[in-house]
């Protein structure tokens, strides 16, 4: 094999590899890109129907209802302009509290309620999920100092 041909084969192999990787990435991206919406956007109909997305906002004070003795919970997520009720069955994270920011992962029903399969509240106890902070037009809070 001449060096020229060798180089040609190498270039073709690299292109094929990069092409395969790109195709894989596109395929994997297809179903796994999750968009984030706040309640106002959901009310305005921007959120997709029948597709999983993330919704975020503050849990309205006093809105948390449990069906006693079961794992079913229902609470309201708000951005202080609009509110969306969220239904969830499962364990809530340690950092879940009324009056704090959360992100829920799930789908919107025809009735305009959100059915979550996952509820997230991030690690840091002073931490508000950034998407929530921004969608509320609030600066991401730094840890307060006494």
């Amino acid at each position: 094999m001449t060096p020229r041909r060798k180089r040609l084969i190498a270039v073709i192999a690299i292109l094929a590899g990069v092409g395969a990787a790109t195709a894989l990435a596109m395929l994997a991206f297809q179903d796994n890109l999750l968009y984030f919406y706040n309640p106002s956007q959901v009310m305005a109909g921007e959120a997709p129907k029948g597709r999983t997305f993330r919704i975020g906002g503050m849990v309205t004070q006093g809105s948390l209802e449990r069906t006693a003795g079961t794992l079913k919970v229902r609470f309201v997520v708000t951005d202080y302009k609009h509110s969306i009720p969220v239904n969830y069955e499962g364990l809530l994270p340690d950092l879940f509290r009324e009056g704090q920011g959360i992100i829920a992962h799930g789908q919107l029903t025809e009735a305009g309620e959100f059915v979550a399969d996952e509820v997230l509240a991030k690690h840091d106890e002073n931490y508000m999920p950034p998407e929530v902070a921004e969608s509320l037009n609030m600066p991401t809070p730094a840890r307060p100092v006494e």
Binding site: A25, F29, L33, L91, P130, E146
Partner: protein, 652 residues
């Protein structure tokens, strides 16, 4: 007073870093031995003063000096001594100081243990390490000073995040950083080589043990992080494809590719510029990882807006280091010629595939990690990339990688045929397939295609690894450290694959609502909530449950999951109750009081999960054994011959 001394020591360390960089690089360029010696002395001085600064910050924590802002924000007078020390690296400023200390330590080690290097080359390496030190120390002094005072002093600190009050996470950052920063040595070796414009087998031989050492720390660091997430985050997952995890995993992938590529460069004088590029990439990804995790970019691109100085500095530093190295590479790398060729089924070509698949996985993970940041920065919507993306793009390159691994390890250098090894491999392959069907069918009563493939690959890698020392023993050949290390590390890869396949295929997770006396069935185990009690710990109160686990009426164990409330306030924390076993873990985490006397619990059955971490530890152990191979320590004598003879072909 002590914090001011620490601050002053840090300033002196910066000045010494500048001296180290200036005298080493210029001394090497001019062949001035006195300047090069001055550079080496500066290395020692720099280490001493960074260590003093680190000691001063540690003292402030131990002494509960809440007049220091960083101490007041990250510790509390009730915090036990061990965690007060660990709190030093509990947040941004202190972890930068730890980073700097690790770098100074590695630099000192290079100065002390590479006397056999030619003086100008060693000086260039030290000079480049000095440049990186300057960057970090300037960054600390200008934007993230850990010694900043709080006026008036706080009467009490805010406490260390309770999630971080844990042994594994206390030791996780230092070990991870030793790995991250260790790649700086390979990076500096690569840059020095590019500056000199020549690369021989001896170069690869010097670089290999340093790279292996860094990589083994990174391996342990990642495994510790995963183990911690499993038992402390409370929900039993062991890898989340969280950007923070990806940030440490990407340099690991690059480092893994690098140690394999270095083998080819040393043995056969091939892949020279590729090896250099990987050395640059591994460290660049380490830097990226450090900043991604500790600067708040991941939380939000706009977090930079709250502290623009930090953001601008980080971007400038990353650009200077990565851009500078790549420019140097583009300018000088074409000078390095890899002359020899190789056959398509020789070991070189298998290592080429290894690199291709590792780099493909790395690139796709990088894409998934940074894509949301770009979208956010360009105001194109808020997106997150879900774990299924990462699982798919990681799995697809890993399957052929594992399949080829068994053959590649047994293939000879340069020669194209497998010869007598072929029968050995057929046997290993047959055993792997039979074993996989047996494990899936007999142990779990189910044969699924992906699970069978996973088990088969795991067994294939393990058996073909073991076949190497067995064949050597039979032929009464010695087993050098490098071969033993390779075998152990690859056996670890197989073991980890076995664990990952098992836990991903057969894990069972159940959320249940139980009253005292109620039970639930998980994978044939009966989990029964037997009792609940209140409990007082050193700095928290807790509710503890007794979860009695039995199988077919015979008691197995009693788990004690807790829900803790720390005295310093904040949210409750979940402490899982875990029964560890060779075949499976049983896991119970306590949720909330649901009313009507019921509590929510998450119950889990995790088969083979221990082998994920055990495999990782073997990988690290193998790296350590390989790094201690005798031939790396015989450098001084080898060097004299290597300058003229360059490569000893076909040697193993």
């Amino acid at each position: 007073m002590i914090p001011e001394l620490g601050h002053f020591a840090l300033i002196l360390a910066l000045l010494l870093s500048i001296a180290q960089c200036f005298f080493s690089l210029n001394g090497a360029a001019r062949g001035n031995a006195a300047w090069m010696a001055a550079g080496r002395s500066a290395v020692v001085g720099q280490f001493v003063f960074v260590a003093l600064a680190f000691g001063a910050l540690t003292w402030a924590f131990v002494d509960r000096d809440f007049s220091v802002l960083y101490v007041a924000t990250n510790s509390n007078s009730q915090l036990p001594l061990f965690y007060r020390v660990a709190a030093v690296w509990g947040a941004h400023e202190g972890s930068l100081l730890l980073w700097s200390l690790c770098l100074a330590g590695w630099t000192l080690a290079v100065a002390a243990f590479s006397k056999s290097l030619e003086a100008p080359f060693q000086s260039r390496v030290l000079g480049i390490l000095g440049l990186i030190s300057i960057g970090f120390q300037l960054f600390m002094l200008m934007t993230s000073n850990p010694f900043e005072r709080l006026v008036p002093r706080a009467s009490e600190g805010l406490d260390l995040n309770p999630l971080l009050q844990d042994f594994a996470l206390a030791v996780h950052p230092p070990i991870l950083y030793l790995g991250y920063v260790g790649f700086a040595v390979a990076f500096a070796f690569a840059c020095a080589t590019l500056l000199e414009g020549r690369l021989d087998a001896a170069w690869a031989r010097w670089t290999r043990p340093w790279t292996l050492a860094a990589w083994l720390f990174l391996t342990i660091g990642i495994a510790l992080g995963s183990w911690w997430a499993y038992y402390e985050l409370g929900w039993g997952g062991w890898w989340f494809w969280d950007p923070v995890e990806n940030a440490s995993f990407m340099p690991w992938l690059a480092g893994t590719a690098l140690i394999h590529s270095l083998a080819v460069t040393e043995k056969r004088g091939l892949f020279k510029s590729w090896t250099l590029l990987l050395a640059v990439s591994a460290f660049s990804l380490s830097l990226l990882g450090t900043f991604l995790v500790r600067s708040g970019v991941l939380i939000s691109v706009h977090a930079f807006a709250t502290d623009p100085a930090r953001g601008v500095f980080i971007l400038a530093f990353l650009t200077a280091v990565i851009g500078g190295a790549l420019l140097l590479f583009a300018w000088r790398a074409p000078r390095l010629k890899s002359a020899a060729g190789f056959e398509p089924t020789s070991r070189e070509s298998f290592l080429l595939f290894n690199n291709a698949f590792l780099v493909a996985a790395l690139g796709l993970i990088l894409l998934g990690t940074l894509y949301p940041l770009f979208m956010d920065a360009l105001e194109l919507g808020k997106i997150s990339v879900g774990p299924p993306y990462f699982e798919l793009v990681f799995l697809v390159p890993m399957l052929p990688l594992l399949a080829l691994l068994g053959v590649g390890m047994n293939a000879a250098w340069k020669r194209g045929f497998l010869g007598s090894v072929r029968n050995r491999l057929y046997l290993a392959g047959a055993l792997a397939v039979i074993g996989s069907l047996l494990v899936g069918g007999a142990a779990y009563g189910e044969i699924r295609p992906m699970t069978t493939l996973g088990f088969a690959l795991a067994l294939w890698v393990m058996i073909s690894s073991l076949s190497i020392p067995l064949a050597r023993l039979r032929a009464r050949q010695p087993i050098p450290g490098a071969v033993l290390g390779m075998v152990i590390a690859h056996f670890g890869v197989g073991l980890a694959t076995l664990g990952i396949t098992g836990v991903q295929s057969f894990k069972i997770e159940k959320d249940v609502a139980l009253a005292v006396g109620d039970g639930a069935d998980v994978a044939g185990y009966d989990f029964r909530l037997a009792a609940l009690r209140d409990l007082r710990g050193p700095n928290f109160i807790a509710v503890e449950a007794d979860v009695v686990v039995s199988r077919d009426g015979r008691p197995v164990t009693t788990l004690h999951p807790q829900k803790r409330l720390y005295d310093s306030g904040g949210n409750p924390m979940t402490e899982a109750g875990i029964e560890v076993g060779a075949a499976r873990d049983l896991f119970a985490a306590l949720g909330d009081d649901l009313g009507q006397g019921r509590w929510s619990l998450r119950l889990q059955y995790k088969p083979l999960i221990r082998y994920v971490w055990l495999g990782a530890l073997l990988i690290a152990l193998g790296g350590g054994i390989a790094a201690l191979d005798r031939r790396y320590r015989e450098r001084a004598t080898v060097r004299a011959g290597a300058a003229s003879a360059s490569v000893a072909p076909g040697s193993r």
